[in-house]
């Protein structure tokens, strides 16, 4: 168990709901869910969620910490905002799903091999490095995220797609060498570092 996870278990011994409220983006809203199921029925990835959002909210209130945080479900969210547009209680479901996924990942409880978990982290690393997304390197990192041999296989399967994009000048080999980025990357890194510090300090102070 990660140290952070251990600390959180001890801190919120009695209430997973409180832990979510303190640490998860828009977590305060969880208690507003009235279990109507509209969100689950509106989700394009519906068939693939082991626990659809409404169930996740119920499980949080029931204190099913491990089950929720180690779930593959939140990682199915495509950010389509269908659920938000339809929820009669106005819950920011999309953000709560992202928040739960992020928190689970930070605690080291998210399923390691979950492909969207890996991709989403690579995306963040890629964009924060230079301040802008380098699509070529992101693409390559994606192909090789499951190891070298698997990567060659995926890359070959996508070879035609890559060539099509190159031909249409919508992919550039120049991205391999430097490529796009912000000029003030020091400033950008300082902002992100500070933002993370503030966020962690805030979660620490939360009284519920």
């Amino acid at each position: 168990m990660s140290n952070l996870n251990q600390a959180m278990v001890e801190k919120y011994r009695n209430s997973f709901l409180q832990e979510v409220q303190a640490n998860v983006e828009e977590g305060d809203w969880v208690k507003m869910c009235m279990q109507c199921g509209v969100c689950a029925g509106s989700c394009p990835m519906g068939p693939y969620w082991e626990h659809p959002p409404q169930e996740i909210f119920m499980m949080i209130r029931a204190g099913k910490r491990e089950e929720v945080l180690s779930s593959d479900s939140m990682w199915m969210c495509t950010s389509c905002y269908n659920c938000i547009a339809r929820c009669p209680r106005g819950l920011p479901i999309t953000h709560i799903m992202h928040g739960l996924a992020h928190y689970a990942d930070r605690l080291g409880l998210a399923p390691k091999e979950q492909p969207t978990r890996k991709f989403a982290n690579k995306f963040w690393d890629n964009l924060t490095k230079k301040g802008r997304v380098n699509e070529l390197k992101l693409g390559l990192a994606l192909y090789f995220m499951n190891g070298f041999f698997e990567g060659i296989k995926v890359a070959l399967a996508n070879q035609k797609l890559g060539l099509n994009m190159l031909k249409a000048k919508r992919m550039s080999i120049a991205e391999m060498f430097g490529g796009h980025g912000v000029k003030d990357s020091n400033g950008l890194h300082a902002i992100l570092k500070k933002a993370r510090e503030i966020e962690l300090a805030k979660a620490d102070e939360f009284k519920g």
Partner: protein
Amino acid sequence: MAKKEYSFYPGCSSQKGASGSNYQVSVDAMCDVLDIQLNDIPDWNCCSASIGYAGGGELPRLALSARNLALSEEANPGQDVVATCAACWLATRETKDRLLDNGGLMKETNEALSAAGLKVEANQNVRHMVEVLIEDFGYEGLGQHVKKPLEGIKIAGYVGCQTNRPFGIDGESFENPMYLDKLVETMGAEPITNYDKKVSCCGGALAFSEPEKSQALIKDIIESAYDSGAEMIATPCPVCQMNVEVYQDQINAKYKTKFDIPVVYYSQLMSVAYGKSGKEAGLDGQVIRAKKLEEIASK
């Protein structure tokens, strides 16, 4: 009409050699005709889209968009911020809204920004290019510039998710927004108004991480366009455009379909209708060539 100026947030996919670079080319051509001046936000950064959530927490992600807003306030004061990418627009607008209705977040965000000597007020409008077209020009105003009506092309307007939810375009419904159809009609083409996958999800970033699940969604989007008689799909979103266009080969191989339908941006339709060349309309950036548009452009 006097020149209109906006503070422009181009976004990563618009950059030279990136997946939405042809979108940018056509936006430039369209703006040239409409006498719109786009003033780039200097040194803008990535908005982290929606998928940035795993690595970035709430505040770091808000801070990314807040940095863009701060730079815009500094360089282009008083100008509305305009984005062409749905994800850029959504992230930036969401940030503005959240900062304005939560004083605590505003304070924390400014504390983070001060690490680079910046400060944000978030008091400018954050708009999608489509809003600018509809609200500041109007369909009639946009129609006045049409030189070559796109006669006889049947187009399914695929609005997708993030240009539509949670904000959408004023006066439009989430379930059946009509603006894209109206734009198509204004350009002289024939909109497929009963296209039933108009606001369905293409899988977004999960097209990369969950290709099979996403391609199943994309297949339905394309199939429904064919079923309703469309010969072309038009969209306002670079993620939708890419997902629906470039996987058609892979979908054909898997589902034994014969998809070969061009997917273009509204701005490409407009550029061609406004008399720009195929190159100026970014048509050379299609993976599946939009032959009917090319023909009209070369006339």
